[in-house]
Symmetry: D2
Subunit: 345 residues, 4 copies
């Protein structure tokens, strides 16, 4: 069985495994106050061009979203997100668990548009009963989105403007950030993200780490006492050094984007091969996840040798599927898949 | 200025004011453990035909919704509601404040349909990632709805069936219940509601009381230790006798429905008069709230003498308005309004 | 049966009942945006000498505490209180329900001492693991305390200083404030309280109103968007006019303190009579609640004609009891009680 | 610098590092639904003698406590704990973050005594105002405690009895469980714990794992839908296989207790050597943490070569210190410490 079901099927990239082994018997203080974590913070600040950034490491994405959002909002404030956003659908109410409503904006493509934010927030304040409604205070976006799509620089700048106009925080979930940064179709750099958002996180779990996300807090309001929030949310790792070691490895010699590139390159190979056969796609993803719409029989025939995730039926005879490449995917796996799949189309 | 802006512009019906005055210097134990509250409970149990019902009185609707819903759900469970439902829009996140997500079901008319519930819940359990999503466990409906509409007996029975099939609680928000019970177009009695739901509340605030809602808990799971929940949510009134006195008055000699009938009769007068002039309505409400769509100029011309609430623009030249009648509305006010309004149409 | 069990056994003082009746059919906007509420706010601002105070009305004490405290604190912050404080013992976890820990300070008399606050807060920040502990950010005091005691002006000033030194909010629960203000043994005025605290509430429920508390927010941080908090906590009364009418009545012609004085005068009569007989007291309360320590047989003998609350056994043969006077207690009731009680001592 | 500051200064034991490396490129499903996690569960069920146990793996202790406790309690219920208990002091309000109060029981030694539980719970239900107080529903104990102490079998059985009598859950925090199980002074086995508690966790972070705790849920009420709770609390690790691999390694060939024994043996060496010199101890710990009371000068003199944690001043010239041994401590480190320390006493 070859798995394309997600981008965290394997452990960590070999460089990280080696560094964890090499540092294993070092004695370090706990909770992220060790030299590896400090070094990783410095490397990240340099990479993003923001010496004022406050960086903390958490174990997973839901935990990071929950902690950042709850740190930013007063109790009656909510966070705007695409209705398909991870925080709205796939976190078992982790945001609501902290007392906050996710204010879902419908969108066909799963992106948050600046004009939809503008309309929503203006509508809120214009409503004479606005005190009876959750106050919008933050915009949550994923880059790439759940569907693998990317914001353009222009779109991000427009979001920044609308956030400034309405005093909203802009928060970017970068669970798959690496795969977005190396897409052949992006014009957004990590420095743009660090310039335009109030907070974002650099995903490790899905991009080569064993686990771990680097929360980057840019707005001073979000920095203050953030470690208390981490502890309260159960998100402060005792052996914080493990996160430090992983991120210092990922941010040394461009490892983070180098391993991400493998995944995106292979995804493009798959995309091009399927497009050449006329296969339609649910989203036009330029990143490591591809969503081809396949005839039902085809999916079935492959299911004993390959694992994908179904992504919803499209019509009576077709299903969208998600095929994920990761830092760990060997080219041979994609070749094999194409060899088995193409003849069925 | 004559107000038709809502059904709580006035104080309480004279019978209640008189009883509060008459009992004012009685000494009673606090927190709803007084003879008036017990008497009111007995009257309600008799009226709804459920001797096993557990009845507690709270001050307001948001508080009641929050307390009942949080008492019923485990932390990762959510409540299905129409996207226009009061708990989803107009309670400043009071449900999320207790850690629970409102799972919004889109619907044109603001009603929750049994088949939409069925589809949602089946979809949840069929999804292999269902543990990553909020578990649906309760259905919330309002009767009348925010738009003044009513469920038919058949619709309520279908909701009961789907809730039974999927082990969901059915909870009915009766903020305006009285106005629903006396509608000329309903076939649902309070006994039907007590037979078909797991919990509901009988609204006092909008139907003749100074304030107060009677939470009626039918499912044994919801009854246990409910008073702890009330206290925790800040919803246990020290002088509980005030709620007891009001509800024993409302449930003596049919006062509750008698005063509600005044409001609905006047609403029908208004509706018929406007329909005769060809005025369209946003909802076909058979209850005390009417939502005529009026030309903009008309609304403006009346605005110095009458208060309504705008209910959203319909097109470039028309606005839906909400005109509320209450137990307290004098027929003369409606006559005056029609005299001023009809010539403008 | 004559009840001395609490100070909310009766309804409201006659002046309030009369005003509620007189204004009953007025039409008013809801949610505290009516002229009566505005007038009451102006009267309170004048009475406390703080034109910058932000005043909102809530229904009960637990709700008020919960709303003010949750409005003030970030998620990882807690509130210091006496271990016997109402929020620590008698609110069924209403503060924890909003996610905050009550940091209990032990004290024999149930008062919070400035030096205990100082020691606690210094200890917090000096501890290298302080991020693993709830951050103290507010001091909660009751005046009078649960045991009827009062802070002296000097004690309040010391609390203010320690709060300033450590950037803590000082919040005063005035559920029985009226009874404190008129005590023959106090040197603290409502203006002192308004000068020295960041927030306090003026209790209506226990001092002559049907229900209602006036939250007075002095620190600008606590004022902002407070009405959103009220709604979220289920604490925004639909017919806010009821609270407005009651507080404008209480703050007209000194009614609030005038009716409070009746209770305290009678309490002093009781105290003096029992002291003359050598009865010891649990607390040396100079307010409306008295805590005499009585032989067990005595309490029993009176229990068919009088209701008090037991306040804990003191030794094998004695029990502390709480005897409450209120605005509504007739002198005759105290005379009768003394006539029955004194011969048993 | 040699660190004795805590038992998580190093990474993981070599067996775990080797297994993580060996399985690194395996493809596995996420979220703990992989063969390694299933195998680890089977090994744990066998080791504890409870084939009906439900086992889930989480990353850290605070997260585990928060998730288990919030899964067990209704909103108005609280958890009894020693006032020095980890959940009461060192989790930045993580329990309160889920809406629950920690009901602190004072105790000199930091243990929860069955009779103190009995008295508290009886007192709760006997109080006529019990609905105004948090309802006790769970007992939380640590084994070893924060001070390294152990419950005897008799004490655990007494706690079980009192929990049965009052329908309380008994939950044991086993952050350092391994060090307790191998103490020369214990008569409690892991099978006793699995027989007597409703839930407990087997600590990995402090006993040889990189990170991870195995939550063992024995009472059926706590098992149901626990994975939803994990996800909601941000505690479901994407690459759950990492936890599975670690616990299958720890529970193969007795590794868990074998490495724990190293720590306890060395702690006994230290204890005996200091006792021989007449050094007093804050707690009579028979486990890996030792709390000698040392003259201030001594601590200072060692502080440039050794890291310990101070554990509070005992008098004007003495400080209690915590000296931790772990699975990773070499005997040479203890020898060196004693060689430097003993001459100073």
């Amino acid at each position: 069985m070859i798995r394309f079901a997600c981008d965290y099927d394997e452990g960590a990239c070999p460089e990280i495994m080696a560094r964890l082994a090499a540092t294993n018997l070092e004695q370090n203080p706990g909770y992220g106050e060790d030299p590896h974590s400090d070094h990783a913070r410095a490397l990240i600040r340099a990479a993003i061009g923001r010496p004022d950034a406050y960086v903390q490491f958490l174990v997973g994405g839901t935990q990071t979203n929950q902690t950042v959002i709850a740190a930013a909002l007063r109790p009656f404030q909510g966070v705007l997100a695409a209705s398909t956003g991870h925080i709205n659908v796939h976190e078992t109410g982790a945001i609501e668990a902290t007392g906050h409503k996710v204010l879902a904006l419908p969108d066909k493509e799963g992106k948050v548009r600046a004009d939809a934010v503008d309309e929503y927030v203006k509508g809120h304040w214009a409503d004479p009963t606005h005190e009876h409604m959750v106050q919008p205070k933050m915009v949550y976006i994923s880059h790439p989105t759940e569907g693998g799509l990317l914001y353009s620089l222009k779109e991000l700048e427009a979001l920044r403007r609308v956030c400034d106009e309405h005093s909203l925080y802009l928060y970017l979930d970068g669970a798959r950030l690496g795969y977005g940064l190396v897409s052949p179709e992006t014009n957004v750099t990590i420095r743009d993200i660090a310039r335009l958002t109030d907070a974002f996180y650099i995903g490790g779990t899905k991009v080569g780490a064993l686990f771990g996300e680097a929360a980057v807090l840019l707005h001073p309001d979000l920095q203050k006492d953030f470690r208390y929030m981490m502890k309260r949310q159960g998100g402060m790792l005792a052996k914080g050094r493990l996160l430090g070691v992983q991120f210092e490895t990922l941010f040394t010699d461009g490892l983070y984007t180098r391993i991400a590139k493998n995944a995106v390159d292979l995804a493009m190979v798959l995309r091009d091969a399927l497009k050449a056969k006329g296969v339609p796609f649910l989203y036009e993803s330029p990143t490591n996840q591809q969503f081809p719409i396949l005839p039902d029989g085809v999916v079935e025939k492959l299911s004993d040798r390959y694992a994908f995730e179904g992504w919803g039926r499209v019509d009576d005879t077709h299903t969208a599927t998600r095929i994920c490449m990761s830092w760990a995917t060997p080219k041979a796996n994609v070749d094999t898949l194409l060899r088995d799949l193409l003849p069925l189309l």
